[in-house]
Symmetry: C2
Subunit: 205 residues, 2 copies
DNA sequence: GTCTATATCAGGATAGAC
DNA sequence: GTCTATCCTGATATAGAC
């Protein structure tokens, strides 16, 4: 494999910085310094910070989507798939490299930058809704539950979990929120008794 | 009531801007221009942007906390209180003026600025956990459920709902995530049959 | 307390040589 | 494609008069 070229290094570096600091708070200078790429070279590949950000954002989406999509479309019991979705190892204190973008004023106000984010969430949502629907259809979850609502709830649990973890500077709220969602899913299991077992908290990334 | 003085106007304006753009992306210049307060006056009251931000952040926390705390500590059925908590009118596309701060790189990295945010989340969490515990103790929710987990789940649902709403530029995912949480709570109701009624989606703020 | 003027530095980009 | 030099603006203050 050839050594990573300048363009690639720029995208890689910008992706990291956007995860760490967001878009607005990341400066071209930081990208140059961390990547070791010169000024001229940078503007040769990307005419503006925004162009580089778009490429980096796309990259971050491509980094995250496959894992969730593959997990959710694999064979297996629908409830198992939801459990695995809610148990993926995550660095709670770093936040989500995709979800974080929605809180960046420059991204949220820019339809072009927001598009890959919207697309990523949409795809995960569809995959989740499909699995939830399957769970209901096969009788694993109570009839009468709404797949759309539950799918949004599960994604929101993760995204909100990051907020809590960062606020408390502690990953436990993230893990507990996810565990709470699993507990409630189990409680909504057809034929569940009152004393349904609760799952143990998720451990370290 | 006397006309609002300069100091007050500065805090008010900074609070708005931090809600709209976050801390890092808000400049002293914008505060001056929107508030109509002069440069000298501003730095007379607040020696730095950070000092002003701290006051504004405190203000934003004080704006939000009372409503949730009063709602959760009022008399009434615990499940009703949780329902009301999840049905508070919110402008989903604007995001949470407190939760958003966790995604601001300058705030998350600054323990002093993060403190009021952590405190606000902690208080809501405690109030929520108490209500959930009450629901379990009175038999309204299944025994075996964990109050801590459910409390974190509910807050995460709201905070994550904002992320989804902004990503999709549509408030419905926010409402649906909250509705999904209510559906699952109802499913975890002791003695709930399989065909528990689901609640209608929340309407407009 | 408030005003105007000034200072410093970083952000974001362009120019033109190699 | 990459480098160095340069440019302009805005962010974040400080100075000192009123």
């Amino acid at each position: 494999m050839a050594v990573m070229d300048s363009r690639e290094r720029l995208i890689e570096t910008m992706s990291e910085l956007m995860w760490e600091r967001g878009y607005a708070a990341t400066s071209p200078r930081e990208v140059r310094e961390r990547s070791g790429i010169g000024q001229g070279s940078m503007y040769h590949h990307f005419p503006s910070k925004r162009d580089l950000a778009l490429a980096a954002l796309q990259r971050n989406c491509d980094d995250l989507l496959p894992a969730s999509e593959e997990l959710l479309t694999a064979d297996g019991e629908p409830l198992d798939k939801l459990t695995r979705y809610l148990s993926q190892p995550k660095d709670a204190l770093k936040g989500c490299k995709v979800g974080r973008m929605t809180q960046d004023p420059l991204v949220a106000a820019d339809p072009v930058l927001l598009a890959p984010v919207a697309n990523a969430f949409e795809r995960v949502h569809q995959a989740l809704a499909r699995v939830v629907r399957e769970a209901i259809d096969t009788g694993a979850l109570n009839a009468g539950l709404d797949p759309e609502r539950l799918a949004y709830l599960l994604t929101a649990t993760i995204q909100g979990g990051y907020v809590l973890a960062i606020a408390h500077q502690d990953r436990r709220p993230f893990d507990q929120a996810r565990a709470g969602a699993l507990d409630l899913l189990r409680a909504a299991t057809t034929g569940s008794g009152a004393a349904e077992q609760s799952v143990p908290a998720n451990k370290e990334e």
